[in-house]
């Protein structure tokens, strides 16, 4: 990347406490460069999902600031729909629209949000359905698809918006083991293509192979951060060492 110094996401001292009193984020700061692939790892309940969701403001913050593409998304005056259209998100539980066909799932937001013509939206939808390998299912309803296939639809749906950033929240955790590899391959391919990605995952193989940087979170804090080599081969903190020893 020629412009690799530009930060596309800047999170500054972000804190979040849920109404039930759980402190999910404590003073989290993280910069993501354009084209960078950042993988967030950490034990369950450490705040990974919450942090990811603050980036597109599915979760509000109590204090701190998040700037995406130069826009302060934590400012209440910001028009979120515009910035969200530039941030694709893939969920653990797919969240495909069950009342729409595969093709319609991928077309709807293009038409409503990107204001594309139907023909153009369909062309782009088919392009990405082909890319994730599910073009032949375009007229099926999601109920007739396997988990892996649903997740492919969800990825195509996000990509068809031509987002500048992709967020993945444990995209493979709800899949049968034999489906995981295919989804990870798609994610690796995207990482190679240079789209900015923030990925929450328990797949350490993926993190090692695809990440430019790995962030380790624990109890709502970023405890350690570094290249895959630094994190896996040279962990500094005891907590990370312990975490790695448990999952590797």
């Amino acid at each position: 990347m020629s412009d690799s110094s530009e930060n596309i996401i800047v999170a500054e001292n972000v804190s979040k406490t849920f109404p039930n009193g759980v402190k999910a984020l404590r003073d989290v700061s993280l910069d993501v460069k354009k084209g960078e692939v950042v993988v967030i790892i950490g034990a369950s309940g450490s705040g990974k999902t919450t942090f990811l969701r603050t980036i597109n403001q599915l979760e509000t913050v109590d204090s701190g600031k998040i700037i995406v593409e130069g826009v302060d998304v934590t400012d209440p005056k910001t028009n979120l729909t515009k910035i969200r259209a530039d941030i694709g998100m893939v969920f653990q539980h797919f969240n495909v629209f069950p009342h729409l066909t595969v093709l319609e799932n991928v077309m709807l937001a293009q038409i409503l949000v990107r204001k594309r013509k139907k023909e153009e939206a369909e062309r782009i939808a088919m392009e990405f359905l082909t890319k994730v390998g599910i073009a032949d299912k375009k007229d099926e309803y999601p109920t007739n698809l396997s988990g892996g296939q649903k997740q492919r639809v969800a990825i195509a749906r996000a990509l068809a918006m031509h987002p500048k950033i992709m967020l993945f929240d444990e995209a493979t955790s709800a899949l049968d083991p034999e489906m995981v590899g295919g989804i990870l391959d798609i994610m690796k391919q995207l990482a190679k293509e240079g789209i900015t990605m923030v990925v929450v995952t328990h797949e350490m193989g993926f993190a090692r192979e695809a990440a430019d940087r790995i962030v380790y979170m624990d109890s709502g804090k970023i405890v350690e951060m570094g290249t895959p080599d630094e994190i896996f081969n040279n962990p500094k903190t005891d907590r990370l060492k312990q975490f790695l020893s448990q999952i590797l």
């Binding site: 599915l58 530039d86 998100m89 969240n95 629209f97 309803y141």
Partner: protein, 313 residues
Amino acid sequence: MRRKKHTLLWNIAFVLVIIGIGFFIYKASLRINYSWNWRAVPSYLVYKAEDEIDAPAPGIVEGYKDGELILKTEKNKILHIKVEHPILKKGAVVNEGDELGYNTHYKAGPLLVGLYMTIKVSLVSIVMALIIGLFTGLMRISENPLFKNLSTVYIELVRGTPLLVQIFIVYFFIGTLFSMTRFIAGAFALAVFEGAYIAEIIRAGIQSIPRGQTEAALALGMNYFQIMRYIIIPQAFKRVLPALAGQFISLIKDSSLLSIISLTELTKAGREVVASTFSPFEVWFTVAALYFIVTYSLSLFDRYLERRLAGDE
């Protein structure tokens, strides 16, 4: 095989019970000296009306041909006039306006006219109730206290007072205030009442859609209106269809209460027919059957829709 036989047996028992009940009603009516007169009933639905045919000009009846009366006027013009049942002989002299005979045509009887009014007022009311229910249902789940409280007050008030009283209030107070017709006031009163129940059905339907659907749509950059219109309501609608159909059926039945503000719908028509005949049993059974035909058709239509929409889930 054995099971099949039992089913048949129970079905036979069912038919016997129905026949038994019918026989009991018949016997009971004999004991109170009721004389059944079903033959009059069809004429409350449709009857043959007679239209008197009058001479358009003075002249002489020349004769009849192909069901037409040939009239030669004083000015020696020949007129062909359709008269199905003539009363004059050939050669009769008529003045302008004299009766030549009559034609007959089928006309809807009072019960059918009443049924038509019931369907009409119910349809208008259903549309209004859906709109009221949709908006108040959405208001009820809104985070804005103004909307939320307004809809809660509306729903609680409507559900806590009798429909009959509401009809009086809408008709005499709101209806007078805005000079509504009987029809509009009646349809509106029903809509206000059923709308509160529809609001609760819609609220429950919307809340039954997983949070992830809204989140996925938000993440794609869709706004509140688009999410409701394209993601939530289509899914919620499918889930609440049976409950909605049930509410529409209630509405049709509740429309009988509009007879109290002298809207001549099916029940009022029934009362009028009973008042002018001596066949209350036959008339009320017929009225009940007519209501049932409408509500049962609606429930069949609902089942058809449910089956059609079942494909994608």
